[in-house]
Structure formats: C-alpha cells, structure tokens
C-alpha cells in the first residue's frame, strides 16, 4: 500500500469517555459481482480495526483465496455457508466499524438483478451509498440501478467509488471519463449529492489515506469522506411529527404517549394537535427513565405527558398546533418497490403500514413502471418481484401524509399480504390526491372541539402560512418586506421602532403570531441577544439585513420563510420529476 499519510491511532481515552462523542453514519454498499465490494469492505474493517484477530486468522488459514495478494480481504465479510460455497452474497448483511469520529453501520447488499428488494431494504435507513464501479468496465446497467434505488429511497450522498484503479495504471483520463458518464445521470437524481473517488480496494489506494499513485486526485480518501460528510438528518427545522406507538398507563394518574420523534422538535409548553381527533393539548412533561427533558428531537424515543385527557391511541399522530399540518387523504400517489415472488393483484386488499398505523389498502392504478437502467417509463398492467412503478394507492381510511422526500417516516408505507403475512412492497409517497371529504372532516373535527376559540391551525389554514417575526433594522427594508408579503397574498403586519426584549416578549406579539401573521419588525434586539431564535417554542425569529439590493434582501427573506416552513416551499415537488 502506498499512502501519503498514516491513519491516526485511536487514543484509549476516547473509549473510556463512555458516552463517546461519535455520531452514527449508516451507509450501503452496492456493486456488481466482482467489482470488489467485499474486498473494499474487508479493507475498511481491517484498516480501522473493525475485524477481529481470530477472523483475520481464519481468513489467513482459509483454503480459499480469490485475490492476487496473500490476504483475501473479501473473506472477512463473507456470509452464510451456502453462499460461501457459491462464492456470492445474496442478502443484506450488516457490518460495523468505528473511528474516533463516527460509528458506521454498513448495509452490504448484493449487486445482481433479482435483489432490488434487498438494496431498497438497505437503503431505507442509509445516509450515504457507496456505488462501486470497476475502472475497466465503467458505468454498467447495474451502476445506474444502484444509483436510482439509492436516490429513490432518499439517500442524500452517493459516493461513486471507481475501483481497481491499479488495473488501469491509475489513469486520470479513465477516471474522468467514468465521472462524465455518471454526471449525465445526476440531473435525473435531484436532491442527491454525487462524490467521485478513484480507489484500489486491493492495494488500499485512497481508502483510508490519500494515495501517492493518484497525485492528480485532489479529493478526500473514502474514509475521510465517510467521517466528515454532513448529514442533513440532523437539521431540526422540519415540522414536528410524532406517531404514537404505545400508550403507557401504569396507574390512573399517568397516561403517557410513547413513540419516536419522526421529525422536528418538541418542548414542554408546546400546543399539540392530535390527528385524527383534532383535539388540542399542551405538553406537560417529556418523560424518560433518566428524568424529564427540556426538549426532544428526532430520532429520540420519548414519552409525552399532556396537560389534559384527550383521545389518543396507537396509530395517531401528534403535531404542533402552530405548524402546517400534513395532508390528509385516502388517495396516495407513490413509487412502489414490489418485493414478493407473488405479483401485485390490482383487485386485492393489502394491509398498509404507515408509521404505527395499519389500514386496508388497494393499489388502484399502475401509472407506469420505471426502467431503472434507462430511467424511462414503461406502461405496465402488473408488477412483479423487484419491479418499481408509480402507482395510485387507495386506503380504507384517511392517512396523514408528508411527502417522503420531506419527512421519510411520514411518507413511507409498507404493504403486507394479509393471507401470507409477508411484507410484499415498500412505497414512497410523493403526494396525495385531494380528498375533499377527508379535508372537510378534518376541519369539522378540529372545529367541533373548538366551539368558542378560533385555533391557530384554522387561521393558518385560511392564510396559507403560519406566524413568524422578521426583524429588519432598516425601515426601508422592513417596508419592502411588508409590501412583498402582502403582494403574495400573505397576512403581514408592520411594526416600527420596537426593541424586542427576548426574555419577556410582549403579549401582543404572541397574539399576532397565533393569528398566523408575518410580523415585520423595524427595530432591534438588545445587545448580545441571539439573532436566530424561536418564540414560544414554535415561531421563528428571523433577522434580515440589507446587503446588496433591496430586491435581493427581500427575495432572501422569502426563501428564509420557506426554509423555516413558515410558508409553503415553491411547488416543485421532487419525487418523480427527476425520472
């Protein structure tokens, strides 16, 4: 192995820290048979001490050695006995290793055609995908397939690892050729970030450290990228969604709703709305074994105790009364990955799992199948194992849905065959078709429990946005914002000359925000106060400054509102469009 740098040794003290400062990155690996996937993983495990000595010893002693070197790294990751004999891997296998920065979970999935379902399984929980390409063979049908499935399941980072560079003399030209071939595809994978790395899994080039054999390559080594890549999953800006999983009721005085936060954040004092009942309550405590929390966020597993008895059970969803609700409908538009040897029956009833909810469902229509090698559309009357299609699903009762691209857990569905009990398909919902009856019912239920008071949610429904404060020190800018918001049909208020004391914000401001107003404040914050904050737990406080032109600053403010989900993002829903 020829490397420029040696990997740093892990200090023992790091492990003694107990809690550790690591975070978790989950990734998948995919490649065609013989692209060198097992060798690459074996190399990562070996070079980061993720393989145990007795396993290494067993490989050394093994009679099988398909590599050209004296140590076959691929044997470190081999699978079940039968597969070992056949020399291929056939299912999802999970591997683990850690560096001082991160713990990694690898979902290792096989490359060949009939196992689309395994790849989708591995990709469903991954933040990143390593897509192996053999430098000699370049981009193959499988490469396009892997990229597509990774993208479809919402993986953010696709790392194209061009392997066996040693067999093409570490040729920069060859690497760039492959890179160009893939860049042509990338516009059909909107939202994904592609990375390219030239490696030799066998020789260890650019795996742990950058290699002297590729001086023309300026990017990070594979491990460096894995350790440092930013994961969007950690951003808490999304709306709060809490599918209720289990009700904990040890005695008559305690009733807690247990579940995993699917997105967003929650604090005691937040007003929540239960769906479908439409009843409101305030978070009294966030209960855990280790004591109450001041704030919880995704993907924490918590128990919420509310300030009053409302009608909530498993399958319901708690959201914040101040945030835009998910859409409600019985008509889902989704991309479906069929996973069962038995093909889809259009007239059959399946059980659909959405979070902790289970309802009966039918696939009403197959719009078209997707050819995952050409990304083209094929008309189709049925759907068999490992095929992917855009479909319309109809459910027996309404579901509360956010698009899969926005909040995975709120847009992911699984179909189960009620006779065999097998999981037969996984679906990513892109949008719902309007279901007037369900919408009306939703509003009516919300109203039924709120005879005297108009709720923030109702006001948001009418205005099409929620409340926020925009602070502009410059009066001209403030006026421009007010005009721009008003012209867009939004509810906007201009207030002049306020110095906002964040510790005790005035009561009128709360009323204005609950009234779903965009409050433009021409004023300032006290010295030293944080410029980005939330008021009453939910409402963003956004500071807008005048840099560049007035128009640019105004446009930026509108973008900020969309980014904080105060107003809806522009109507260019991602899913399906890129195909």
């Amino acid at each position: 192995m020829s490397t420029l740098e040696q990997p740093a040794l892990l200090p023992v003290s790091h492990f003694l820290a107990g809690e550790g400062e690591k975070d978790l990155l989950r990734f998948t690996t995919a490649g065609s048979v013989d692209d060198g996937k097992s060798t690459l993983i074996g190399r990562l495990l070996h070079d980061t001490n993720g393989a145990y000595e007795d396993q290494i010893e067993a490989v050394r002693k093994s009679k099988v050695n398909r590599s050209t070197g004296n140590f076959d790294f691929s044997l470190l990751t081999d699978g079940l006995k039968a597969e070992r004999e056949q020399g291929i891997t056939i299912d999802v296998a999970y591997r683990y290793f850690a560096t001082p920065r991160r713990k990694f979970i690898i979902a290792d999935t096989p490359g060949h055609e009939q196992y689309t379902r395994n790849m989708a399984t591995g990709a469903s929980t991954a933040d990143l995908a390593i897509i192996l390409v053999d430098a000699r063979h370049g981009v193959l049908a499988q490469t396009r397939r892997h990229a597509y499935i990774s993208w479809l399941l919402g993986i953010e980072h696709l790392v194209v690892t061009v392997n066996k560079m040693d067999l093409v003399d570490y040729s920069a030209a060859r690497f760039h050729e492959i890179r160009r071939d893939l860049e042509v595809l990338s516009h059909r994978l909107p939202g994904a970030t592609l990375h390219y790395i030239p490696v030799s899994a066998l020789e260890g080039d650019n795996i742990v450290a950058r290699s002297a054999n590729t001086p023309w390559y300026e990017g990070p080594s594979l491990l460096d990228l894995l350790e440092n890549v930013e994961i969007a999953r950690y951003t808490p800006t999304k709306a709060f969604r809490f599918p209720v999983q289990y009700v904990i009721r040890p005695d008559l005085d305690f009733r807690g709703f247990a579940g995993q936060v699917a997105s967003g954040t929650v604090r005691p004092g937040d007003s929540l709305l239960a769906l479908p009942s439409g009843q409101q309550a305030v978070v009294d405590r966030i209960v855990t074994f280790d004591g109450d929390l001041e704030e919880a966020f995704a993907p924490m597993a918590i128990t919420l105790k509310l300030d009053r008895e409302i009608d909530v059970s498993r399958g319901d969803i708690l959201i914040k009364a101040s945030e835009a609700p998910p859409s409600v409908s019985r008509h889902l538009e989704a991309t479906l990955v069929w996973m069962s040897p038995e093909p889809l029956h259009a007239e059959r009833t399946y059980l659909l799992r959405h979070g902790s909810r289970e309802v009966s469902a039918r696939v009403g229509q197959i719009h078209h199948r997707i050819d995952i090698e050409t990304y083209g559309e094929i008309s189709a009357g049925s759907l068999s194992m490992n095929e992917i299609a855009r479909v319309a699903i109809e459910t027996a009762s309404p579901l509360y849905i956010d698009p899969y691209r926005e909040i995975h857990a709120m847009g992911a569905v699984v179909l189960v065959d009620p006779i065999s009990n097998n999981t037969v398909a996984a679906g990513m919902v892109s949008h719902t078709r309007q279901d007037k009856a369900a919408e009306r019912r939703k509003r009516q239920t919300a109203l039924a429990f709120q005879v005297s008071r108009v709720t923030p949610l109702e006001r948001q429904h009418r205005h099409g946005h929620r409340g926020a404060v925009l602070l502009a020190e410059d009066l001209t800018l403030a006026e421009s914002l007010d005009r721009a918001f008003f012209d867009r049909g939004w509810q906007s208020l201009l207030v002049e000359g306020e110095t906002l004391d964040l510790r005790t914000p005035p009561a009128w401001l709360k009323a204005a925000l609950d009234g779903a107003n965009l409050v433009v404040l021409a004023g300032s914050l006290p010295e030293g106060a944080s410029t980005q904050a939330r008021l009453w737990g939910d409402y963003p406080l956004l500071t807008v400054t005048l840099r560049g032109t007035l128009e640019a600053a105004t446009r930026k403010a509108v973008d900020l509102l969309a980014a904080h989900r105060v107003v809806p993002a522009d109507e260019q829903s991602g899913d399906g469009e890129g195909i």
């Binding site: 550790g20 800006t237 280790d290 704030e295």
Partner: protein, 321 residues
C-alpha cells in the same frame, strides 16, 4: 439553521449553546438506544404474548435496561424467560435472582429436565449435542409451553457471521426454525410482526450494537452485570488457550490439576463450554481498554461455535437464538 429556543419563562439568551446544530445530533449510543427502545415498544404493541429471553449475560442486561427505559414509568409488559441448563455458573443464578427481584420483573425459568434425567451432559454427549438438548430444544419447548408469539433476544449482528444477515423481527415457523433464504423485507423502522398460530417472531433489539457499544453503554449507564466479567484470581483448568473455571461439575482430564490464574469471562454460558481469558481488567474502564487492544471476537472462547465450520448457522436453523 439555528433553532435556539427562547422561552420567556425559562431562559436567557446567554444560556443558548454557541453551536446549536450540534444540540440536535445524538451520540451513537443515544441513537442506538432510541432505535432499541422503538423496537421494544413495537413488540409490546404488536404481540399478544411476548417474552424476553434473559440469559443473565451482559447483552441481556443491556436489553433489560433498555426495556425498563422503554416502558418507564410503567412496568415491563412481558415476563423474562431464562433457559437454565443447570450447568451455568452459580454466580449467574445468584445474580439473576437478586437482580430480577430488585426490579420487580416476572421471571420464569425453563429447563429440559427430561434430557437431564436421561443423563444429558457435555462430557458424554459432546458440547454440540448437549447444547442442542439443553439450550436449543429447551428454548423451543419453553417458548411453545408458554404460548409466546414473540421472543426478545439480546443477540447482536456483529457477534457472528450468520447473525449479520438476520432481521430485527425474525420470522420462525411452527418448529421454531429460521429460513435465511426467505426472510421478510424490513425497511425503515417499520417492523412486520404478523404471524399465524404456532408461528412466532424472534426480535433482536440490539441488532446494531457492537461489543464495544455494549461495554460503553454499561459504563455510561452504570448497569449491573455478573461479577464473572471482572478479572480476579480464579481456580481454572488450563486447556491450551482456553481457561475453564474450576467448578464442582467440571470433570478433570487424567493428570489435570486446577491452577490459580487472574482471569475474567468475555461471554457467559455453561461451565464446561465457556472459557475465561487471562486478564487484569477488574473495572469497566479496564475492560474497555483491554477490548480496545484485544482484537478477538468474544465468541471465540465459546468452544461450541468452532466445533464445526458454520456451526452457529446450523444451530440457528434449528431454532437456537
């Protein structure tokens, strides 16, 4: 974005951490914990008669701890089941009875008494046959007698190659058998626990934990574990690389004499089949430090896995955990 929360009642802006994005990042242990708690709650919600297999080892201790967290402030919504081979270390049984009483758990114990009465023991049968009767058979029978439709186990995917492929919700047919070629797809955190009568699901909440994660978690959460895990001077039989703690039920080989060696157990099981390792690690930090330098997988000292190539996989197909 920065989402520093400003609550008029509780905070001054100065209390907001400088790098707020980090606040919303769970450490790997907290992320694993959340995943496991979600799995445990799914089991309680989806099944009518779930049970937790409690082997008294460190993984079981972590799983039990996570279950206490999952249902706090409520009680565990399922009983614990221990498959007692009668060849386990007395310290383990002592620990089991004391700890489960302390936390008020409902402990059930099952033993294949019929096989024992017929003389099943590791010396005459060989470890593999003995395990088949006193563990696998006893487990399958114990689960059937209890009518359990789901059994939680503390196995981890990093323990052994065949486990690396197993689902979190792992389907078992009416004979308790696993079919590695025909597993249910498992996506996101959605688990399919549907079974017909007689079938069951084995559930592995610690699937994604490694041995290091388990030890770090035990240290950071202060979880009680059996003292056998800590090094001290013990009377052992030295058999090649393997140290067998000397107990009354261990049979000496001709000319064999016990010796005093400072050692500890890396995984617990029956006296004749789980060896100790030479070690000075008598505290958790020392164990973690030892593990860090000590790159051998823990099951190596379980004699049985290496009886035959792929032996764990064969046992699993037959219904072992």
């Amino acid at each position: 974005m920065s989402a520093a929360t400003l609550n008029p009642a509780s905070g001054s802006p100065a209390a907001i951490p400088p790098e707020p994005t980090n606040r919303y990042r769970l450490s790997h242990l907290r992320a694993l914990e959340a995943e496991s708690i979600h799995i445990l709650r799914e089991v309680a919600a989806q099944f009518e008669r779930p049970v937790m297999l409690y082997s008294i080892g460190k993984d079981s201790s972590v799983m039990l701890h996570l279950a206490r967290k999952a249902f706090f402030p409520g009680r565990l919504p399922f009983p614990l089941l221990h498959i007692d081979t009668t060849y386990e270390y007395p310290e383990m049984i002592e620990f089991r009875d004391r700890f489960t009483a302390e936390i008020g758990a409902d402990l059930r114990v099952h033993t294949n008494w019929k096989a024992i009465e017929e003389g099943a023991n590791p010396y005459d049968l060989g470890t593999s046959k003995c395990c088949g009767l006193l563990r696998t058979r006893a487990l399958v029978d114990g689960l059937r007698e209890g009518g359990y439709d789901a059994a939680l186990g503390g196995a981890r995917r990093d323990e052994e190659r065949s486990r690396a492929k197993e689902r979190v919700f792992s389907f078992r047919d009416t004979h308790g058998q696993w079919d590695p070629k025909n597993q249910r797809p498992e996506l996101w955190n959605v688990y399919n626990g549907r079974v017909d009568k007689g079938e069951s699901i084995r559930v592995f909440p610690l699937s994604n934990w490694t041995e290091m994660d388990v030890w770090q978690y035990i240290a950071s959460e202060n979880i009680s574990i059996v003292p056998l895990y800590f090094a001290k001077e013990r009377e052992v039989l030295v058999r090649g690389e393997t140290l067998i703690p000397y107990q009354s039920n261990v049979k000496l080989l001709p000319n064999e004499k016990p010796q005093i060696v400072r050692c500890r157990m890396r995984s617990l099981g029956c006296t004749p089949c789980s060896g100790a390792v030479r070690s000075d690690a008598d505290t958790l930090p020392k164990i973690i430090e030892e593990l860090f330098g000590f790159r051998r997988s823990e099951r190596e000292n379980r004699v049985i896995d290496y009886d035959q190539d792929g032996s764990m996989e064969m046992k699993k197909r037959e219904g072992y955990f």
